[in-house]
Amino acid sequence: MTVLSVDGLTVHHGQLAAVVDLDLAVGEGETLAIIGANGAGKTTLLRTIAGVLRPTTGTIRYDGQDVTRMPAHRRVAAGIALVPEGRRLFPALTVAENLATGAYRKRPGPWSVDRIIELFPWMADRTGQAAASLSGGEQQAVAIGRALATNPRLLLLDELSLGLAPIVVRGLYERLPEILAQGTTVLLVEQDVSQALRVADQVCCLRGGRAALRGRPADLSAEQIQAAYFGAAATRNGDADADGTANVGALSVATGSDAGEETTR
């Protein structure tokens, strides 16, 4: 069953179209990873689904219901939670208070503050500490915990790895199966492509606000992803579909980029 479907979504930042005519569907319990370079529209997409940004055109359907015009706080009550880019914890509040803000809507579900502390055991001794004094990785864990406390059916994760050491990122992603075990549907945005491919059931690569490639991680080759990521296929072969999706056969090796993204798996 489809939890989230996005149809013909276009989102503008002023004059700039950050997301263009995008279609997406995520099934119950599925994990969809959105990958793409900086400025591809990933964060904009998540923020629009969370309700912080308003789309120019297109519809967002959640649980069969049109939520395109629903304000962000009501989407939380309906079960959509975003872990925003850059954590966005409440710095003056303690760890426990930050987690408790997630329970504001009292949405029923498996997650309570105690259960979240079980998921991240280090929090137990530090509930009274101000969130501002935590390390980046710890803040990210609290941000995930805060979103879980809303008991989401659809969890949106924006760049968990941003500014964190690889070992810390791995530690965070190791918790993901426990979250998924609750039947939570996850839509995650990640620049660390190898990490995204490891955890996702489906991958969608954005480029210039359009879907450049989609598929199951097992069905996609490193070259395809590299091409979709950097745009080599579209520019060299010029045979992208009308909807902007590069043909699966259009393989080419993107070179000359020093973006330093790891695209092998």
């Binding site: 939380v76 009550a77 925003p84 966005r88 409440f90 003056a92 509040l93 208070e97 803000t101 504001y104």
Partner: protein, 289 residues
């Protein structure tokens, strides 16, 4: 002994200033709104209570019980209907809107009640005092006001630190967008903060009106004292506001003890001195904002 008396009276006066100022402090702490109509709202509450007491046989106590909820509701509605809209435009427009509100309230009161001075009749309570010794007697009204200021500020602190809505108010003060992302309707949270601020300023206005006369023009002076108390104590800190109110009250009574004409000046001088040498205030914000 005169000096001890002066200090005690100054601290008690500071209670009134703190009571006036805590709503201003709360609105600034949560929404970064400087409410220039704050003093006039206190005066409006006093006139409302005056009307209630003249039109009905009810006493001052009942007038307080009626005016406070009315003002809380008024604050909620005003925030949702007017201030929120200006907040989404720019901080400057909020300043202009509250300034306009101040002008409207003053002139409406002048129209309805004329410029005559009034007083809330609290019977013998107005002169009743606790006689400590030959040189010191403490007015029950001043003691009551001081006690109410402490109760209100402690209650506000507990509300902000313990309750679900209070916690969300601090969260929204830190990061309004992140607060909506955990399910808070920031307009509702802000309106609740304004409702609380309006109720406290109504209480302050009524306590003031019970001990001295009032007319439609005194609001701005009340605002300045409240503003000074907030700045002396430290923006956004409620304990600071209580301390700031006491420092201001002390400065005024000590100044007046030296020379009665120094009453206002000494308070302003302390305010300027704090701005110059300790601009973050005596207790810089940490809890609320």
């Amino acid at each position: 002994m005169t000096w001890v008396n002066t200090i005690v009276q100054g601290i008690l006066l500071g209670g009134l200033y703190a009571l006036f100022a805590c709503g201003l402090s709360l609105m600034f702490g949560v929404m970064r709104i400087v409410n220039l109509a704050h003093g006039d709202l206190g005066v409006l509450a006093a006139f409302l209570a005056y009307s209630v007491m003249s039109a009905t046989p009810l006493g001052a106590f009942w007038a307080v019980l009626i005016v406070l909820p009315v003002f809380a509701a008024f604050g909620y509605a005003l925030q949702r209907g007017l201030i929120q809209r200006s907040l989404s435009i720019s901080p400057l427009s909020t300043l202009l809107v509250t300034f306009g509100l101040s002008v409207v309230i003053q002139n409406a009161l002048l129209e309805k009640y004329s410029a005559d001075s009034r007083a809330l009749n609290v019977g013998s309570l107005v002169t009743a005092a606790l006689r400590v010794n030959a040189s010191m007697s403490l007015s029950y009204l001043a003691l009551l006001t001081f006690g109410l200021a402490i109760v209100v500020i402690v209650a506000l602190q507990l509300f902000l630190s313990r309750s679900r809505t209070g916690r969300m108010m601090r969260a929204a003060s830190d990061d309004p967008e992140a607060a909506t992302l955990v399910g808070a309707d920031s307009r509702h949270i802000y309106a609740v903060a304004t409702a609380i601020a309006f109720a406290t300023v109504a209480l302050a206005g009524l306590m003031f009106a019970m001990r001295s006369s009032f007319d439609p023009s005194i609001g701005p002076t009340r605002l300045i004292f409240a503003f000074e108390a907030v700045v002396i104590g430290g923006l956004g800190s409620l304990w600071g506001t209580l301390l700031g109110g006491m420092v201001l009250g002390l400065a005024q009574t000590l100044g007046a003890q030296l020379d009665p004409t120094l009453l206002l000046l000494s308070g302003h001088v302390i305010f300027l001195a704090v701005l110059a040498f300790r601009p973050q205030g005596l207790i810089p914000q940490r809890k609320l904002a």
